[in-house]
Every structure is written in structure tokens, then in C-alpha cells.
């Protein structure tokens, strides 16, 4: 790799709503710059996790280095991918901190969406140069001029800043690359200064230990250098460094302005903190770079291994996931029903689902996740305040003076014909109407105040179905408000199952209790005896149903020729019971623990 002048480096990321073509655009940039041959491109090359490709979303940021020839000079472009979902704004902020510019990609048919705007504001906070890109102009229903006007009105771009592209056909891609070079400033920073490199990501490689992704801010780092991680104080020798193109290319040094990776035989994953600064051990920088504000967890749930002996495996899995997802928090917790597990905190619901899925898929551990909870602020009768993130931590009712819950303010972007259904949904979710703005003649932004706990249930899904998928949604936390909340317990066969308890608004408790016991009745298979399911508040039963006893499960005949075959049938049945948890005498399938989420109004 040739040595590159700092003024010929550009670091940028892409901001876009889900589906607006970010990953395809990134693929196209990779192809245009020759980083990958067309045949090497899988769809969504940067999205390396299976979950990302399957769901068509980006969860983890990724960084690649591209080279581009412009006006007789070679340029290096570092593209740092960003997630589009509101849950992952922390990740976005990390990518943006490593860049000087960002492409704001908007779908020419759909216009600007709630989450795009949120991420754009993050970019503006980081003082980045923004290039507005209107993508998918090849679509038959594309209206680039209308979307352009929407962006001008909403954000204040000037008319000549826009680049029009079709990531599908390749149209506009050279213009876009030129604009990146012309408009985004080269990184500053001096290669002679004491080393400061920002860790913006890391992952664990079983052969080489922790691999750090970093942005070189000041100084030069060479192979063999002794580095110090400023926050943890840990010291390592650099074994390998280089860049991702996205294939890994090893280099001898990284200099200020570049983005690359470092391997230093780091075995202890807890030593590497995203947001920490790397410096030289013998010639350290005087101060670390401003790190990131760690995001606060908004949603909590219990995660338990189905097989009790997998507890340590689960701990290890969570630790490994935390390595490149600092926003994941967890601590051990014990449930009477589920045994030993972890109370985990997430940025949002999608984040929670992704982590659960990754634990099961990447680490092969069958888990039970309990229904999600938010953090409640409980004032006791002695005027002290406790914060709780689990219904089981709620003190006795006699000791509680009041309970407050977190509220959010919504941005719901939608075509105006769905105003009615959206308002109905928000009312059902205990929302309070604030205001509504017209973005243009046909699109609105609706603001409600809604308890976060309602969003945690099925708000996303409902919003999607109420608006045929046309609405997009984003929220900001606005603080705590007092609510008439109670703890609702679920009893199986007469015994409280702590993992099924939820905190609910009293006016909605009866309805929810009924829905939960009905959902459980559907989810729990018949057992050898009748199983009553009850929902109760304190000692007061508010809903009840029964799972009738199983009537027949028998190998009616079994003679000499049948034994091996009958055994196989039993083994199959046993396999089916594997994903069940024994609660008292009742076998409960995994899904039942999320029954509180699966409710129809």
C-alpha cells in the first residue's frame, strides 16, 4: 500500500432509514472503486452478520477503506457504516465521531423518515459535512424533486447540493464519489504528535484475541509499538495492524487521519472499552480524546438458559457480545421459576431481540427471555426513592407512596390519511396528544407523549399494521410521570411464576390479565393434569382459565417388532420437550414467557 498524503484521505459514513438503500449504495461504492469485484459482492457486503442480511438491517458498524482516482491523484476513502434504527443511535454516534462527513441518503419515492432525521441531528452535533443524496431514482414512483424540496424545507439544504443516484443502476455514483472528495474535508491531526487513536469498535477473534477498530486522530502507530489503553491502563505490543478493504490488508503503520484495525494479543476482553483512547506507552498523550457518553439502557429483561448448566456459557456469550456492543449491560439475577440467569439492559426492543437471537444462534444456547420492563421510579411511604427495572423488585404495596414511569415523545412520520388510525393507536397506548406538523401537503409528523412501557409492548408492530407500513417512528425520552401502576402476577397451577409478573396500569390490568391468561392457554401444551392459569393483583384474582388435562399420549400397542421404532417415537417427543422449562409440575415452552407481548386488542 502506497503512503497516502493526509489531504487525500476522506472519512465518511452513510445515514439512511431502513430500506432506503444504504447497504446497496455502499456495495455500489465498493464496486465502483474496485474494492471488490462484482462477483465477490454478496448483497449487503458490509452487513456481515446473518441476522443483518436476513432482516435487511445494519446493526454493527463496519469500516472499509476504498481507493479512488480523481484528477490524477489517488484518494483513500474510509466508509464507516452505521445502523439506521433508533435503538442503535449510540452506534451511529460512534461511527460519526470517526468521520468528517456523512451522506444523508433518502429514498426518492418515500421521502425523509423519522429515524433519518434523528441520525442527521447527531451528525450535525458532530459538525460533519453533510451531502444529501436522493437514491432509488430509477423507481417508477420516484419523485426526486418533491423529496428534494422536502429536505430543503425541513433541514435547509441549498438546491445545488443534491446528488441523485440509483444504487441499483449505478447512475450518479461517480458524481457522488467526486462530491465526497470535493466537499468532505480531509482529516486534521499531525503524524508527529503523541498518539491518540479512538477505539470505535472491537470484536473477538479466537486466534488473535481482541481486534480493535480505531480512528487515528493524532500521531503514528507502527507494528511492534507498545500501546496503552488510557482508561484501563492496559499495555500491549501491537502484533498486527492494517485496514479493511473490506478484505483485511496488513500494513506497517497507521497515521493520523486513517481508520484501521489493531491486533495486540489481547485475551482479556474487559480491558478494551469502546470510546477509550489508545496512546504510546513510552510517549503518551497528555489527555484522552473525548469518548462517548455511554447510552442508558431503556428496556430490561431477564435472560435464562433453559438448561441450568448453561449458566456459565451464557455469561461468556454475553461478555463476548458486550465486547463490541458496549450498550449491553447485564448482571446475575435469580428467579424462583427459572433459576440462575441475567438481568439485561438494552437500548430498545430491537436491540433486545437481536441480542437474544445472537445468543441462541452464535453461541448455541437455548434461552428464555422474560417480558421486557422499563425502569420505574418508586417513592416509598418514608419518602425514599428506589429505581426498579424488574417487577419482582417492586416493594410491598403498603410501602409504596407512588410509582412514576418513563415517558417518551414521539415523532411519527406518516402520510396524512393515517392520522386517524395513528391517533386511535396512541390513545389505546395511554398517549397524550401534543401536536402535529405537516411536512408537506400529504405528510405529517405527529407528536404524542406515551409511557415507554407501552412502546415496549407491541407499539411498532401495531403502528406498522395500522398504517400499512407507511409510518416511521422515533422517540425521545422526556422524563418520568406518576401513573397508577400495579404489579400483576400470573399463577400456574396455583403458584406465582415470578418471571411472568408485569407492572401494568391499573385501569388496563383486567383487560391485560385476561389477554395474558388466554395467550398462555394457547401456548402451554396440555399436561397430565388440569392446570389453572390465573392473573392476580395482590391476592385478588382478576382473570382465570384452565388448560384441560391431556387425554391421550400413548403407544397403544408395543410388541416384539415395535420396540426400536417406539423408542424413536418417544425420543422425538422428548426432543419436543427440550425447549420447555419445568415450572413446578408444569412444562412451559419458551414463547410463553413473552405471552404478555403477544396480545390482541
Amino acid at each position: 500500500m502506497i503512503y497516502m498524503k493526509q489531504q487525500n484521505i476522506r472519512n465518511f459514513s452513510i445515514i439512511a432509514h431502513i430500506d432506503h438503500g444504504k447497504s446497496t449504495l455502499a456495495d455500489r461504492l465498493l464496486e465502483e472503486t474496485g474494492a471488490l469485484e462484482k462477483r465477490e459482492l454478496k448483497e449487503q457486503t458490509l452487513d456481515s452478520m446473518d441476522i443483518e442480511r436476513e432482516r435487511g438491517i445494519t446493526i454493527k458498524l463496519n469500516a472499509v477503506e476504498l481507493t479512488y482516482h480523481y484528477h490524477d491523484e489517488d484518494y483513500i476513502l474510509h466508509l464507516i457504516d452505521t445502523p439506521g434504527h433508533v435503538d442503535f443511535s449510540y452506534e451511529v454516534s460512534r461511527s460519526l465521531a470517526a468521520c468528517e462527513g456523512a451522506l444523508l441518503v433518502v429514498d426518492a419515492a418515500q421521502g425523509i423518515e423519522a429515524q433519518t432525521l434523528a441520525n442527521l441531528y447527531l451528525a450535525l452535533e458532530h459538525d460533519l459535512t453533510i451531502i444529501p443524496v436522493i437514491n432509488k431514482i430509477d423507481l417508477p414512483n420516484a419523485d426526486p424533486e418533491k423529496v428534494k424540496q422536502e429536505l430543503i424545507d425541513a433541514i435547509g439544504f441549498s438546491s445545488d447540493e443534491f446528488i441523485f443516484t440509483s444504487a441499483k443502476t449505478g447512475e450518479g455514483i461517480p458524481e457522488l464519489l467526486n462530491a465526497i472528495i470535493e466537499r468532505i474535508p480531509a482529516p486534521k491531526g499531525e503524524k508527529e504528535k503523541p498518539l491518540q487513536a479512538l477505539i470505535f469498535d472491537s470484536f473477538f477473534d479466537s486466534y488473535r484475541g481482541v481486534i480493535i477498530s480505531c480512528r487515528m486522530v493524532e500521531g503514528t502507530l507502527q507494528k511492534g509499538d507498545k500501546i496503552r489503553l488510557m482508561e484501563t491502563g492496559a499495555v500491549y505490543d501491537v502484533v498486527e495492524l492494517g485496514v479493511m478493504t473490506p478484505k483485511e490488508i496488513k500494513k506497517d503503520k497507521l497515521v493520523a487521519g486513517e481508520v484501521g484495525f489493531i491486533a495486540a494479543s489481547i485475551k482479556d476482553i474487559s480491558q478494551v472499552k469502546v470510546g477509550d483512547t489508545i496512546t504510546h506507552d513510552d510517549f503518551p498523550a497528555s489527555t484522552p480524546l473525548p469518548g462517548y457518553q455511554p447510552m442508558k439502557s431503556m428496556v430490561f429483561c431477564g435472560i435464562y438458559p433453559i438448561e441450568a448448566n448453561k449458566f456459565e456459557d451464557l455469561r461468556e456469550a454475553l461478555e463476548k457480545l458486550k465486547l463490541n456492543d458496549a450498550s449491553l449491560v447485564f448482571e446475575p439475577e435469580t428467579s424462583q421459576a427459572l433459576g440462575f440467569g441475567f438481568r439485561c439492559g438494552f437500548l430498545g426492543l430491537l436491540h433486545m431481540e437481536i441480542i437474544e437471537e445472537r445468543v441462541e444462534r452464535e453461541f448455541g444456547i437455548d434461552i428464555i427471555a422474560t417480558s421486557p420492563s422499563v425502569i420505574y421510579e418508586v417513592e416509598l411511604t418514608d419518602h425514599s426513592i428506589v429505581m426498579i427495572d424488574s417487577p419482582s423488585m417492586l416493594p410491598d404495596r403498603q410501602k409504596i407512596a407512588s410509582i412514576k414511569e418513563p415517558y417518551i415523545k414521539t415523532n411519527i412520520f406518516s402520510p396524512s390519511e393515517y392520522i386517524g388510525p395513528i391517533m386511535e393507536l396512541c390513545q389505546n397506548k395511554r398517549g397524550t396528544y401534543i401536536s402535529m406538523e405537516y411536512l408537506d401537503k400529504t405528510r405529517v409528523n405527529i407528536h404524542y407523549e406515551i409511557p415507554l412501557s407501552e412502546i415496549v409492548y407491541d407499539f411498532f408492530d401495531k403502528l406498522k399494521s395500522y398504517t400499512k407500513g407507511y409510518a416511521s417512528f422515533d422517540y425521545e425520552l422526556i422524563g418520568y410521570k406518576e401513573s397508577n401502576l400495579v404489579k400483576m402476577d400470573i399463577l400456574l397451577n396455583g403458584e406465582i411464576v415470578d418471571a411472568l409478573s408485569v407492572i401494568v396500569h391499573k385501569d388496563f390490568a383486567y383487560q391485560r390479565g385476561k389477554a395474558v391468561v388466554e395467550a398462555l392457554k394457547e401456548l402451554i401444551p396440555r399436561q397430565m393434569f388440569e392446570v389453572p392459569i390465573q392473573a392476580s393483583i395482590g391476592s385478588h384474582v382478576i382473570a382465570r382459565t384452565d388448560i384441560k388435562a391431556l387425554r391421550k399420549n400413548v403407544l397403544a400397542k408395543c410388541y416384539g417388532g415395535d420396540i426400536t421404532r417406539k423408542r424413536k417415537l418417544l425420543e422425538k417427543q422428548k426432543e419436543g420437550k427440550k425447549r420447555m422449562k419445568q415450572i413446578g409440575r408444569v412444562e412451559v415452552p419458551q414463547e410463553a414467557f413473552l405471552a404478555v407481548l403477544k396480545m390482541e386488542d
Binding site: 391431556l550 387425554r551 391421550k552 399420549n553 397403544a556 423408542r567 417427543q573 420437550k577
Partner: protein, 362 residues
């Protein structure tokens, strides 16, 4: 070498194929019988280790479909087997095949137990099952059989689509009136590759099925039959000794097309391909029974019966008590498994749900 006490011989020929049958069977073809019996003789000569047999069972198919001279040839082969003085020697027999001549032949060669496929006394059900006799034929044929044999089993099928409890109860009264010492019951299973399976027939509900099972239990035990295994009823002393060898997890030979056996820690199944069998290739599948599978088989077989799993036999073989081996203290506590001085057995209340319990013993 451990003695094998039991032997099963399969005769895969039928004059007619029943709509529900998924056993190994062929339409009766006169020209196939001689070669088949020769191959059977070959198999027995090769594999039989001269053990003294306590039970011998000839099943099918329909062994009684053979002509008297073919039967004679079959019995000449079984004479090579050494039978104990107290042997239980059963042959399966169809209603229409019961003739004085065949009964005398059975007697002559030591058969002392008949298993007769009555199945139902309801003409519509017989028709549905493709059984080729009428209700009226059953009583005289049974009376004839009883002149020569006292130890007789009859088969009953229930849970036929469309069958009601009152239809079943009529059947049960008819069966009780036949006054035989043993009745095998069978809740109809609609199996793939049978006529019923191909017709995609819906089975009756589990609810009705279990009510039928209870009705059978109530009526038969009322008349003094012991419900000694999930699907079997016998007057005291008339339990099927042959079938008990299966449920006690004991060893047995299986000879003939598609037959299964359990010998020298191997469970094997013979080929179902008649060409292969005739050419002397007998075994198709073998499974080595490890100690763990063996222990588990004691449970899943023994817990089908009222006598249950013998403490002494299990302890001698595995050097640890059955209860400890499977950690079933809680099942005993909940009265699902009952412990006696000598055995453990499944509470009959749960027999129709036994799979729910047996999966804990795999």
C-alpha cells in the same frame, strides 16, 4: 451364553389385506409358500442356538391361511425347536380359517393357544376394516375353536372413525359373551402406506378415544379380567407369557420375513424384501443395545404392565436401584409411579398418558 426363552415366527401371507394393516404382508400366492418355508427353515437352522423355549408364537400376516399340507411343513420346521414341557405355543388365526382339520393339526403339533382376529362384531366396522367375514360367522367358529382349545385370545379394534361409545359397548358385550380368557385391544392407528392412510382419514378425537379406553377397562375388569398391560386383558393365569417376555425386556428370537429379535445384546430386524429373504439374506438392521438403552428399555417396556419393573432383576443387572438410576423420587412422591416391595409400576390412571412419563426414562 444366555438362554433365549422365546421365539417369534412370521408368516407374511394373507388372503386379503385389511385396510388398517401396516405389518409385513403379501397376498397369498401358492407358489411362494414352499420356497418361503424352505428359507425359513434355512434361517432357523443357521441361527437357532438350541435353547429350550418357554414360548413360541407364530404370527403374521395370517399363518392360518396356509393349507393343511403347508401347515404340516411349517410344523415340521418348528419341531426343530426345543420346546419346554410348559411351553406356551400360540398361532394367529383368522375367523374364516377355523376348520376342524386345521384345529386338529394345530393340536397335533403342540399348539396350545389361539389368537383369533375377531376385531369387531359390528358389520359396518368389519366392512370398514376390510375383514371378510360376517358377524354371524363369529360365534359358531369360536365355539368350534373352543372344542379344541381353552387358551384363546381375541383381538378387538376400537376408535374407528364414526364409532360411538354405544356402538363400542355393544361390541364389548359381544366379546364378553364369547367367554374367552384373553382379549387384546387396539386403538386404531391410521398409518401411512395403509388403505386408511392413503384415504387421509381423520382419527377420532383423543377425548372420545380415551373415553372408549375407560369404557373397555370398566366393562372388562368388571367381569374379572385383569388389565395387566395398556392394551391387554386376561383372566388370572391367562396372561400372554410370550408378550410378557417383550415387556420384561427379555431376549427372543425372531424368524421370518420382517421379524424382529433381541439376541446377545443386539436388536435386529429381518429384511422385508422377499427376494432377499428367499436368497438367504435375512437380517436388514442391527442395533447394539448399550447398557444405557438397556436400562431405559426396562422402563419403557416394564412400565406398560401392572407387574411393572422388577426391582431384583434391575438391581442385579445395573447394580443400582431403578429409583436411583432414573432419579424418580418425585414421580413416586406424586403417585405417578408406584413402588411395591418387589417392583415399580406406572399408576394405571396415567397409562393412556404414559408417553409423558416414559420420555423421562430415555
Amino acid at each position: 451364553m444366555k438362554k433365549k426363552k422365546s421365539c417369534y415366527i412370521h408368516i407374511p401371507f394373507c388372503s386379503n389385506i385389511c385396510s388398517y394393516c401396516d405389518f409385513c404382508k403379501f397376498y397369498y400366492q401358492d407358489t411362494l409358500i414352499e420356497p418361503y418355508l424352505d428359507a425359513l427353515e434355512g434361517e432357523i437352522t443357521t441361527r437357532y442356538q438350541n435353547d429350550l423355549l418357554e414360548t413360541l408364537y407364530i404370527g403374521g400376516g395370517t399363518p392360518s391361511v396356509l393349507t393343511p399340507s403347508q401347515l404340516e411343513k411349517l410344523f415340521k420346521i418348528t419341531q426343530k425347536l426345543e420346546l419346554s414341557h410348559q411351553v406356551e405355543f400360540t398361532i394367529e388365526c383368522n375367523i374364516q380359517d377355523i376348520t376342524k382339520e386345521k384345529l386338529l393339526l394345530f393340536q397335533k403339533y403342540g399348539v396350545n393357544r389361539l389368537s383369533i382376529g375377531v376385531q369387531s362384531s359390528n358389520q359396518e366396522i368389519l366392512h370398514f376394516l376390510d375383514r371378510e367375514y360376517t358377524k354371524e360367522e363369529i360365534i359358531p367358529k369360536l365355539n368350534l375353536a373352543k372344542q379344541y382349545f381353552s387358551n384363546i385370545n381375541i383381538d378387538l379394534i376400537y376408535a374407528i372413525p364414526g364409532e360411538t361409545i354405544s356402538m363400542l359397548k355393544q361390541d364389548l358385550s359381544f366379546f364378553l359373551d364369547l367367554n374367552v380368557p384373553h382379549i387384546s385391544t387396539y386403538s386404531l392407528m391410521i398409518e401411512e402406506h395403509t388403505k386408511l392412510g392413503i384415504q387421509n382419514l381423520e382419527p377420532i378425537s383423543d377425548q372420545l378415544d380415551s373415553m372408549m379406553y375407560e369404557a373397555i377397562h370398566d366393562m372388562f375388569t368388571e367381569k374379572g379380567y385383569r388389565h395387566y398391560e395398556i392394551s391387554n386383558y386376561g383372566l388370572p393365569g391367562y396372561e400372554s407369557r410370550h408378550n410378557l417376555t417383550y415387556w420384561r425386556n427379555e431376549t427372543y428370537y425372531g424368524f421370518g420375513l420382517g421379524a424382529s429379535g433381541y439376541i446377545d445384546s443386539i436388536r435386529y430386524t429381518n429384511t422385508k424384501n422377499i427376494k432377499k429373504y428367499l436368497s438367504g439374506i435375512y437380517i436388514q438392521e442391527e442395533e447394539k443395545i448399550t447398557a444405557a438403552i438397556d436400562a431405559s428399555n426396562y422402563a419403557i417396556l416394564g412400565l406398560r404392565t401392572l407387574e411393572g419393573v422388577s426391582k431384583a432383576i434391575f438391581l442385579e443387572k445395573f447394580k443400582v436401584d431403578f429409583k436411583e438410576y432414573f432419579s424418580i423420587a418425585d414421580l413416586i412422591e406424586e403417585d405417578i409411579i408406584i413402588e411395591t416391595k418387589d417392583s415399580y409400576y406406572l399408576n394405571p390412571k396415567y397409562w393412556y398418558l404414559s408417553n409423558e412419563v416414559l420420555v423421562k426414562f430415555l
